[in-house]
């Protein structure tokens, strides 16, 4: 089973102090550490597990700056067979649509049975690349995937729904799976595997190798930290009293 895994190198902002830069459209990244996007590491692990079960090859693809090659080397160390970096510096501003279009161009000559992506990236949180890529390729997709089993060229996929429900789908291949975190336990790259991956070639492609007509579907206007709100008012009393007061507040604020 030949697989493609899309990987993004993202800043680790969960516990860091995030500040907006001078452009107002990006964050200050100087003192942040970067790593593989969390959901992508689950997608990669799932691909490795599928490969361990059924054989085949894994190609890791990342649209990123030269530093993204470090992230791709971790993917190689964990079990990917080859890696491609699409030069971010060649393609300017991106959104989910343009990213998917560039990935489609980059993988057009690669034979695959499935593409795995993370369900979202922790920096942009667009949730778009997986489904958009599938639409562009004209193949089925599933999002928020929490289980993948493959047999007889069919995939049996679980999707996590609200309210604790699980949806079980049978899907034809090739397909795109946008993987949910928690689907597996991502392994650590062993030191010897890192050492070996350090010497492997990463294919780098840019505007000379791929062209895309894709335009941005959306442009970033502003990035801001929302102002701290005033303290919430807790309404007490009988349901009638609370609903009456709620209606008054809504009218006072001019919301209706």
């Amino acid at each position: 089973m030949d697989l493609i895994v899309c990987i993004k190198r993202v800043p680790q902002t969960a516990e860091a102090e995030v500040k907006i830069d001078g452009s107002g459209k990006d964050i200050v990244k100087d003192r942040l550490t970067f790593d593989m996007n969390e959901a992508d590491s689950y997608a990669l692990e799932e691909a490795i597990l599928l490969k361990e079960k059924s054989g085949g090859n894994i190609t890791a693809v990342s649209l990123g700056s030269a530093e993204a090659e470090d992230t791709l080397r971790i993917a190689l160390a964990k079990g990917a067979d080859s890696a491609i970096r699409i030069k971010l510096e060649d393609f300017g501003e991106l959104d989910g649509f343009k990213t998917a279009a560039l990935i489609r161009e980059a993988i057009k000559d690669i034979k695959f049975d499935a593409i795995l992506t993370g369900c979202m990236s922790t920096d942009d949180s667009y949730y778009q690349v997986g489904p958009t890529l599938a639409e562009m390729l004209g193949i089925p997709h599933a999002t928020l995937v929490s289980k993948i089993e493959v047999a007889d060229q069919k995939a049996h996929v679980h999707r996590e729904l609200e309210g604790g429900l699980i949806e079980h789908l049978e899907m034809s291949l090739p397909a795109v799976f946008a993987v949910q975190t928690g689907i597996n336990e991502p392994r650590y790259a062993s030191l010897i595997a890192i050492r070996r991956a350090a010497g492997k070639e990463i294919k780098v492609i840019g505007k000379e190798e791929i062209s895309s007509e894709a335009k941005l579907n959306s442009t970033l206007e502003e990035l801001f930290i929302p102002p701290v709100g005033e303290r919430a008012e807790i309404l007490t009393g009988t349901p009638d009293e609370v609903s009456k007061r709620t209606a008054e507040i809504i009218k006072e604020k001019g919301l209706i």
Binding site: R73, A77, Y188, A189, S190, A198
Partner: protein, 370 residues
């Protein structure tokens, strides 16, 4: 461009080990202290990651990495749990290195090969082997291959599968390998101030037989070889101290930004800023010396002096960092609610286990005065 920019490979090692330590070690570091040893499930994970055989050649199942990579990994391990870093350092430097360099093919096959898969070797340090008393080396009984006596401090003792012990042979100091199940050998626990999970133990021998083929460093190589191994370990211990200093500084920066006094975070006060700056200066000095010593070792040049200077500087830096971190944390600093008291205890213990400062300084002076 820095003086010691890491290779891409070393940066990846740092990132991956950091991820491993924050997920696997950090949440349990305090519990490991209570247990007094590194449990087998964590040893298994460390081995799977390749940390136990980091510097061992691929021929013997290791990762074949250099001393600088070892230092990068130890620094990260130490930031989460210095005891675990200690176990890894002892395995790589004090056990695997002499086995690879001086051990017979049989010893390499029987013992070196065990280490990458999670086997652990214990090591008996002593402050000055030339005047070593009975507490840190054993003597053969007259006309016999039997030894009796106590070795009070054995690094990695609690979990070791075998031990590297010093034995006096005439006027020479040699080193032997003994199995944990050697007849007449008993282990006894040793309570330490810090590094409590590193499993420091003691050994007692009652007429235990040491076979000739278990000799690791014989009379020909002798004390000089043992000293060169200890100098190599100094580099690794320096990296552990550096990790402790970094952890103490990070904790202090975080706490001083959060903790408010008189309406301001305490990091706004000059006295606190002075402590933070001093910690940073010592840490950066140590970093350069540790990486310089490791790079010198990797280049094959004489590394003894640089290793000793690195150890004294980073050891002292980490103790200061631990003390200042406790001070910055105020009343919380000496409680178990914050990790800084552990950083201090580990730093002070490491400083002692690595060798007596006065001895190391006299060796430095001897060399300068030659």
């Amino acid at each position: 461009m820095g003086l010691f920019d890491m290779s891409s490979e070393q940066k990846l090692i740092r990132t991956e080990v950091r991820k491993f330590t924050s997920a696997v070690l950090e949440p349990v570091a305090s519990d490991l202290e209570k247990e007094g040893r590194v449990p087998s499930e964590i040893i298994k994970k460390l081995a799977q990651m390749g940390l136990f055989g980091l510097t061992i050649s691929e021929e013997y199942g290791g990762s074949g990495l250099d001393a600088l990579s070892l230092c990068v990994a130890l620094q990260e391990l130490s930031k989460s749990c210095a005891s675990v870093a200690m176990v890894v350092a002892v395995n790589n430097c004090l056990v695997a290195y002499p086995l690879a360099k001086y051990g017979s093919d049989e010893l390499k096959k029987d013992y070196l090969k065990l280490l990458p898969d999670g086997g652990t070797g214990g090591y008996v340090p002593c402050s000055d082997l030339e005047v070593a008393g009975k507490e840190c080396s054993l003597d053969f009984e007259a006309d016999s291959r039997h030894v009796s006596g106590k070795l009070d401090i054995v690094l990695n003792g609690a979990s070791a599968d075998f031990f590297v012990i010093p034995v006096k042979s005439g006027n020479c100091t040699t080193q032997y390998i003994v199995n944990r199940d050697t007849p007449g050998l008993n282990l006894f626990p040793v309570q330490t101030m810090g590094m409590r999970a590193a499993g420091v133990a003691g050994l007692e021998f009652q007429r235990s037989e040491l076979k000739e083929d278990q000799c690791l460093i014989g009379q020909d190589d002798g004390l000089a070889a043992i000293q060169s191994v200890r100098d190599y370990a100094c580099i690794a211990f320096s990296a552990i101290a550096l990790g402790l200093a970094e952890a103490a500084l990070e904790a202090s920066v975080k706490y001083s930004k959060e903790r408010k006094q008189f309406g301001r975070p305490i990091c706004a006060f000059p006295m606190v800023q002075n402590m933070l700056a001093e910690m940073k200066i010592r840490m950066e000095k140590s970093r350069l010396l540790v990486y310089e010593a490791a790079s010198t070792f990797d280049s094959g040049e004489d590394y003894a002096m640089k290793a000793r200077v690195a150890f004294l500087t980073s050891g002292e830096g980490s103790v200061f960092a631990g003390l200042d971190a406790i001070q910055i944390h105020g009343g919380y600093g000496y409680t178990k609610d914050y990790p800084v008291e552990r950083y201090f205890r580990d730093a002070k213990t490491l400083q002692a286990l690595g060798g007596v400062s006065a001895d190391i300084k006299s060796k430095i002076a001897e060399e300068i005065l030659q």
